[in-house]
Amino acid sequence: MRRSRLLYVPFWAAYAFLYTPIVVLVVMSFNAGESPYVYEGFSLDWYGVLVQNAKIREGLVNTLVVAVGSTVLATVLGTLLAVGLARHTRSRTLDALSVLPAVLPDLVLAIGLLVFYATIKSTLGLHSVLLAHTVFGMAFVTAVVRTRLTGADTSLEEASRDLGATPFTTFLRVTLPQLAPGITAGALLAFTLSIDEFVIAYFTAAPTTPTLPIVIYSMVRFGVTPEINALATLLLLVSFTAVIVTQRMTRLTESLS
């Protein structure tokens, strides 16, 4: 079918639009000078400065703690919930509830949690952020695992139950292995979202335990050196590598099973 040449304009414009800032960020990370505007020659200095920046290291550690913790919690709760919603109830309200954190604007969730923590007079810290991230992480895990469950073949589960296994054994031995790819995908999604999450952390973190996005926010507000470009490039590299690795691994496991 004839395709209008005109369609390619927005297509290439979209990619150019998406990548120009990225390219500039990466190129200027190797800038020998301090100005974000003038390229003064190639240098790896800013990567050195970055690695030595204690605030960034602290932020990174905090972010990883929160991300891993909230992902684990979200995966457990979310998977259980997904199975519960698919197999043990037909309530549409509960379905909607499970997705609510993903649909709600993050600002609303953030202020709600701030108000909650203040009302119960809790201390703020990594724990307050971790618990907060679990809320939306759960929604995404539940959604992803749900899609694996609906329309999935229930005959194995039925067979298991007919053979006398309790719902729990069925769950552990039959359902869970079947869900594994969905659970992994959901966990990965929850982890990715937590790492980059700013708004909720901004409202619920203590001043003494900032996450990496919070550290970056103050760097951006205070006016920056190419150190931040170096950080951006590294983040890009790490995520890119993670994706390639996951791709290779899933292809590997798929080819093995």
């Binding site: 079918m1 004839r2 395709r3 369609l7 390619y8 304009v9 927005p10 297509f11 979209a14 990619y15 639009f17 998406l18 800032p21 990225i22 500039v24 960020l25 974000p36 505007y37 709760l77 259980l80 919930l81 519960g84 043990h88 109830t89 509960l94 509830l97 499970s98 609510l100 954190p101 649909v103 604007p105 993050d106 600002l107 609303v108 969730l109 202020i111 709600g112 108000v115 618990l131 907060a132 809320v135 759960m138 229930t154 039925e158 007919d162 719902p167 729990f168 980059d196 708004v199 990496l212 996005p213 970056i216 951006v220 931040i228 950080l231 951006a232 983040l235 890009l236 995520s239 890119f240």
Partner: protein
């Protein structure tokens, strides 16, 4: 779900107990977590809308309707409408760019499809704030865009590209374009190409085919993409703050300011409620038109 034949009251009650226990184990933990850390905070927020701010920023638990009257003050209505306007513009432009992009990706051979999709999402993997910062550098007076245009002789003094509403819209589109492309792609990809061929064979022009066949069939994807861009745009405060130079106030900034500057939690909660109300209306519209499609 088949059950092996049961007989006797004890077997039935055992089954019921085991079902109830199953529900408790699977639904229990997640729902309790959401109850405590989602529903109760939201209930608190909603309850705050009827209280008032203390002298130095606490909450005084006396019921009053003043937050709601204040909501209809022209200043705040203007800010709400202004945010609606900016979010809508961003969404529409994202749609105009995103639809052709998703369409063309769907036509690509399989190998290139994945690469193209990953390429759309890849920018997402640098930190959101750093991406915004990159735009500040690009668009500022001494920035790349202006210096390139000046070097090319197209302008002789820098354009005011930064710290205005256009910059905010650009930032919004930039941040959420991938969220428009992905659902659109999913919808377009599912289309049966034979339908389009049939339409062409019947004499319809490509434009007619698009309007009468392709668009209606991909409408759910269009609506999902629009929602995915509109929701975060409408409630955004970072982009207006960093790219708007403090010269525009969107409802997200207003809410943030009530909580962190003015320390007026009751009014901030009322604004948040207004935000949710607008979104619910849009969600209902989307669900209604998705059902009709």
């Amino acid at each position: 779900m088949t059950r092996s034949a049961v007989s006797g009251a004890s077997a039935r009650s055992r089954a019921r107990r085991s079902r109830a226990l199953g529900r408790l184990v699977f639904l229990g933990p997640g729902l309790i977590y959401l109850l405590v850390l989602l529903l109760i905070p939201l209930a608190l927020l909603i309850s705050f809308t009827v209280f008032r701010r203390g002298r130095f920023g606490g909450v005084i638990y006396e019921v009053t309707g003043q937050n709601f009257t204040r909501l209809f003050d022209p200043l705040y209505l203007e800010i709400l409408l202004g945010s609606l306007k900016l979010a809508t513009i961003a969404t529409l432009i994202a749609l105009l760019i995103g639809y052709p992009t998703a369409y063309l990706i769907a036509q690509l051979p399989r190998k290139w499809k994945t690469i193209a999709l990953v390429a759309i999402v890849l920018p997402f993997w640098t930190n959101f704030l750093i991406r915004i910062y990159a735009w500040i550098i690009l668009l500022s007076g001494p920035g790349l865009v202006n210096s390139t245009l000046m070097d090319l002789g197209l302008i002789d003094k820098p354009l005011e590209l930064l710290y205005n509403q256009g910059t905010i819209v650009t930032g919004l589109i930039y941040s959420y374009l991938p969220l428009m492309v992905l659902p659109l792609y999913a919808a377009i990809e599912k289309l049966d190409p034979q339908l389009r061929e049939a339409s062409a064979n019947l004499g319809a022009s490509p434009a007619r085919t698009f309007v009468s066949v392709t668009l209606p069939l991909t409408l759910p994807g269009v609506l999902t993409g629009c929602l995915f861009v509109f929701v975060p745009s409408f409630g955004n405060f970072i982009i207006p703050e960093l790219l708007g130079g403090g010269r525009s106030v969107m409802v997200g900034n207003l809410i943030r300011d009530q909580f962190l500057k003015a320390r007026d939690w009751p009014f901030g909660s009322t604004l948040a409620l207004a935000l949710i109300a607008v979104l619910i209306v849009l969600l209902l519209l989307q669900a209604w038109s998705a059902r009709r499609a």
